[in-house]
Amino acid sequence: MNVLVADSIRLHGTATTRDEAIAEVGELLVSTGSVTTDYVTAMFARESSVSTYMGNLLAIPHGTNESKDEVHLSAVAVVRYDHDIDWGGHPVRFVIGIAGKGDSHLEVLGAIALVFSDLSAVDDLQKASTPHQVLDRLGLSAS
């Protein structure tokens, strides 16, 4: 599954709040042609019903179940921050927007969670200096 390309990775995000961060990663998904702008609206809807904070400095904003038709291509976009984003009281440094077509959401979620459950991998991701290093460490690059 072709889900992540270097164009969808931003190493120094500019958002300072949770909502700005959702908008930032949402714009990245829209700009790569993966989703419609309605999907970004659905990302806010999902966040307001339940937080997508996952632990270990990670949040994974994504749309609601109903919005999966707004996904053209399964994709993820990654924004890394040099500062903490306050995500409902938790510090977040990695915001990974997920757009899963059909039922592919679980596959993407599993791959991301597997990387972030390893604290040394999270440390490596914080030190990565190029988008390609992030790609390699997430293991989500196109096969």
Binding site: V50, L58, H105, E107, L109
Partner: protein, 376 residues
């Protein structure tokens, strides 16, 4: 013995909850639907009504419900004390279940590990759940649970009328569980089949049930039918579907070994399931997302490619692939794209880009010829 099951919908009550009950567990259903949770707490029993030639009626008792939105603390306590946790919630909900499981593990003092099984329509769902739980738990806490992948199969028809908690299901069900995470102490689950390798079971289902279902849909639509059971009652459709399942049986036995007679019986039982008039699905619904269904690792191309690799021409599967090319329903975005590609693309490019069959692959000549016949 106690079990906590996430998702009190039709699959939860009519399949997993029933199996847990039959294995002797007191079942706690967790859901966010207030009406459902209130009904579960008010009722002493509900019925699972099986339709089909082997259909029976089962009565489930000894259960309760908790609303995870309004009462997460009670869910956490229930998990801390449970023997088994199962889920049937769907891909975007599993991540919400994970923090509750993590907190349940943190609060757990029972010496035996908790058995966790995600019964979702996805391969490796329990591995995914484990990875997400790991984000919320220490490694010591994570070690208090064993996560086992499963494969589940039971068709639940559209429920008609107001049956309350009762659920109508087909008379077939299969719950296969990977035994290896449990070592020599698997959980008590009489209705589940514990195996050392799930792959043969996942393939068997995908290339018999899903391949068969899609074949009936595409062949049936081409012959002018609109429902599964009526299409399968047609001899022309049924004879090609039989040939398709003979081809996939050959491929399954070649890949995983096993008894050809048993595979034939499984295929025959699958067709019997499809003939169940209560499950009479619409062909259009079954055929949706044709581009995904025509992709490399899916139900049609994957078995056709495997057969071609062992020098067998998969004639029946190619007949279905040809029929799938005519799938034309404006409501389905992939169908619209399929018809656009048929009108504007070359068969060679379709085979490479959509079906993932390119270069020197032995299926390529026959596949390209089949596709080009549909391109006028």
């Amino acid at each position: 013995m106690t079990a906590v099951h996430f998702g009190a919908g039709n699959i939860g009550r009519g399949f997993i909850g029933l199996a847990l009950h039959q294995a002797g567990h007191q079942v706690t259903f967790v859901d966010v639907d207030d009406g459902l949770i209130d009904a579960l707490n008010a009722a002493a029993s509900y019925r699972v009504i099986e339709t089909g030639v082997e259909g029976r009626i089962h009565t489930v008792t000894n259960f309760s419900g908790i609303n995870s939105r309004s009462d997460p603390e009670t869910v956490v306590s229930a998990i801390a004390a449970a023997d088994v946790v199962t889920t049937a919630v769907g891909p975007r909900i599993l991540e919400l279940v994970a923090p509750l499981i993590a907190r349940g593990l943190a609060a757990r003092s029972a010496p035996d590990p908790l058995a966790v099984m995600a019964c979702e329509n996805a391969i490796g769902a329990s591995d995914t759940l484990r990875a997400v739980v790991a984000l919320h738990a220490t490694s010591d806490q994570l070690d208090r649970a064993r996560f086992a992948n499963t494969a589940v199969d039971r068709i639940i028809p559209l429920q008609t009328g107001d049956a309350g908690l009762d659920v109508t299901v087909e008379d077939f069900s299969e719950w296969v569980v990977d035994r290896t995470p449990f070592g020599d102490r698997p959980p008590v689950l009489s209705g589940a089949h514990f195996v050392d390798d799930l792959a043969p079971y996942i393939d068997r289902k995908l290339f018999t049930v899903n391949t068969g279902h899609a074949s009936i849909a595409y062949l049936g639509l081409r012959a002018g039918f609109s429902r599964i059971a009526e299409a399968l009652a047609d001899n022309r459709v049924a004879s090609v579907v039989d040939a398709v399942l003979a081809e996939t049986a050959q491929m399954l036995v070649a890949r995983h070994g096993g008894d050809p007679t048993e595979q034939r019986q499984y295929a025959a039982r699958t067709l019997e399931r499809f003939r169940n008039p209560e499950l009479n699905d619409e062909l259009e619904r079954v055929g949706r997302q044709p581009l995904r269904k025509l992709s490399r690792h899916e139900r049609l191309i994957a078995p056709a490619a495997a057969l071609a690799e062992s020098a067998v021409v998969p004639t029946a599967l190619l007949t279905v692939i040809e029929a799938a090319m005519s799938f034309d329903f404006p409501d389905d975005a992939e169908s619209v794209e399929l018809q656009r590609l048929r009108a504007t693309s070359r068969a060679e490019d379709f085979a490479s880009n959509i079906c993932g069959i390119d270069g020197q692959h032995p299926l390529r000549p026959a596949l390209v010829a089949t596709i080009s016949r549909t391109m006028g």
